[in-house]
């Protein structure tokens, strides 16, 4: 059994190359069927996303998987890894499993730790199963890859930190308030960015949204979007004590919220914390507002700084994840090795047992019946002999499992003991 992964990703190929190689969802079953029907191919999976195209095949030992995939790509995409040259990567055997585990765990993604790739990989696997292109061996490898990805996600913080500005705002809100249910959001200035942030907050449980805007129509429009309440722009500061989170993105050329005003607001709130997000340029909220106790003011640069820190933190977590993946690959290889020689070992043991049982029966007919003591002695003697005989070949099989010459050893032993294929 040979395993080969051939592919291009955002790391090796520009989008012009990736788009040429991509398989559309509707063409996938036909492509899988074609690949599977090629001589020597046992199983096949095709993963096609905007950031990577990967073809995974397993073939019989006698076939050359590279040549098969080359000709397949030449037929379908008018390009072959030979001609595609530096854009393509190929991983075989252990390397291929390592690569697959890393991809599933989102360690090879453009934004390390992003969760979509696992879903895409699962979809590719499901498509291959439906097309009948996976049976048994790759099943085990892919299922393992999914659980490795799950383990990485739960045991490292790789996917926990926000890596976009609007999501970072939500994450900060959670760091301030804990769960966001029953939190009220006020949007000052109905722009695209504030809409996005409010959408994230609403989805995270924020219960109510107030919208205020210099043009009242726009405020009404946006309030409808979130089932919120429009507020008169001239009177919005009176409503501020109600708001836990304020998103300011108005086009005002000066500060619309000053420190003295906010001191009054926070007193009216009896010091309950407030989170102010100022994504306007020029800024809407006087920066010294952040000096007030229980008020947390973040402008667009502050949010970007949080994103950068999160990315650095993700990279640290990725190191743990890499170690985890390496450990899992080791485990998988040990399991595969055992699975490779297991049928031969079982066959050998059965064969010897049959011979033993037949010989004992023959002796029984000739010299029997035996007394229970004699019966026991014959059993022990014959079992001892076959165990001694089997010991050599079995330990030879185990030590050669997974090695290149392993296949020869297996073949030789099967032949020597007349084991059926």
């Amino acid at each position: 059994m040979k395993l080969l992964i051939t592919g291009v990703s955002h790391k090796t190929a520009p989008v012009e190359v990736r788009e040429c190689l991509a398989f559309r969802e509707e063409t996938l079953p036909a492509a899988l069927a074609d690949l599977k029907s090629r001589d020597g191919v046992s199983e096949a999976v095709i993963l096609s996303t905007c950031n990577r195209v990967e073809i995974t095949v397993t073939t019989e030992d006698s076939s050359d998987p590279r040549a098969i995939v080359d000709s397949f790509l030449a037929d379908h995409k008018a390009v072959s890894p030979g001609a595609g040259g530096p854009h393509f990567y190929r991983h075989e055997g252990r390397d291929a499993i390592h690569h697959l585990f890393r991809v599933a765990a989102s360690l090879d993604s453009m934004v390390v730790g992003e969760p979509q790739i696992l879903g895409q990989l699962k979809a590719a696997y499901a498509a291959a199963r439906n097309a009948g292109a996976v049976r048994g061996w790759l099943d085990g490898v892919f299922t393992r890859a999914f659980s490795v990805a799950k383990r990485v996600r739960s045991e490292t913080g790789i996917g926990q930190m926000a890596v976009s500005v609007s999501y970072a705002a939500v994450e900060l809100a959670r760091k301030i308030f804990g769960p966001l249910s029953n939190r009220t959001v006020m949007i000052v200035g109905a722009g695209k960015m504030s809409e996005l942030a409010a959408r994230h907050l609403r989805r995270s449980g924020a219960s109510h949204v107030f919208v205020t805007n210099r043009t009242p129509e726009r405020a009404v429009e946006m309030a409808e979007l979130f089932q919120g309440t429009p507020v008169d722009y001239t009177r919005f500061t009176a409503m501020l004590p109600e708001a836990d989170i304020v998103i300011a993105s108005s086009a005002a050329p000066h500060y619309i919220l000053r420190k003295d005003e906010m001191l009054r607001v926070i007193a009216a709130r009896r010091n309950r914390p407030m989170f102010l997000i100022d994504i306007a340029v020029p800024r809407n909220i006087e920066p010294s507002v952040n000096e007030i106790d229980n008020v947390f003011l973040y402008d667009i640069d502050d949010l970007q700084e949080v994103v950068n820190a999160n990315l650095r933190e993700r990279m640290k977590e990725a190191e743990h994840a890499e170690a985890l993946v390496a450990e899992e690959v080791g485990r998988m290889m040990a399991r595969l090795k055992a699975a490779e020689v297991a049928p031969t070992i079982v066959g050998l043991q059965e064969q010897l047992e049959q011979i033993r049982a037949a010989e004992v029966e023959k002796a029984r007919r000739k010299y029997g019946p035996f007394t229970p003591e004699q019966e026991e002695a014959v059993e022990a003697l014959t079992r001892g002999i076959i165990n001694k005989i089997a010991h050599g070949p079995i330990s030879e099989l185990r030590s050669h499992a997974g090695h290149p010459e392993g296949a020869h050893v297996i073949a030789a032993i099967r032949k020597a003991f007349h084991l059926q294929d």
Partner: protein
Amino acid sequence: MAEMSVIWLRVAAVLYSLGLLHAILTLVRRREHLFDVALGAFGLGSVFHFVSIIEEGIVNHRWPITNFYETLSMCAFLIAVLYLLVHWRYKVESLSVFLFPLVFVMALVATLGNPVSAWSSPVVRDTWLTVHIVLVLLGYAALLFTAVASVVYLFQERELKAKKPRKFYYRLPPLGTLDDLISKSMAVGFVLITLAVIAGSTWAFVELKTAWIQQPKIVISFFTWGVYLALVCLRITAGWRGRKAAIMTVTLVGFSAITWAAHARLGSLLLK
């Protein structure tokens, strides 16, 4: 104090205790649930309190402000009346959180002026003292928990203010969660310490007769309880969080340690 006067004062203290319950519920739920009931009980309690003071004056044929217990009772009564007047005029619910428990404890202490007969049995005496000690220790545990949570809150608040996430930011729980924990542990601690103060002072009263109130450790205990009450009150009314709350909680831990040190010989009393 005259016997009937003490009985009326006890009735008043029981009614005032609803005010304490109101304060605790406000701290935990952050909303005034029991205020109307507590205010009614408080008003009724002050009527009984008034009766108690008049009775004391009539029986003794003098103004009932001649000893510590009488003056304490009078003082508590005046606070109660003053609060009722101010509330009638200005509707100041928030003050109740501080004043209701205070008036309750003052009235309670004032009832403990007449020596009662000695312990019915040594078992009751020892059990009573053990209950007091266990309550105090549980209360201290809750208080320490509050202090630790307050300090953690302070760290996380600093991180969020500094806007440059470092290790603490990622590892510490959200401020809202900590705040909730602080409220709850503070309320539990306050209940336990208040019960412990009641148990301890009544024990000391039976044990030491009228001299109990002169004991320095009892004075320190009441002072520490007063600080705790002030902390609870500031948290409810002014929403003290972060730095101020952390400093105050840690100060309270300090006072509690002093109180503990003053009581360190209490264990030996059990062996007496």
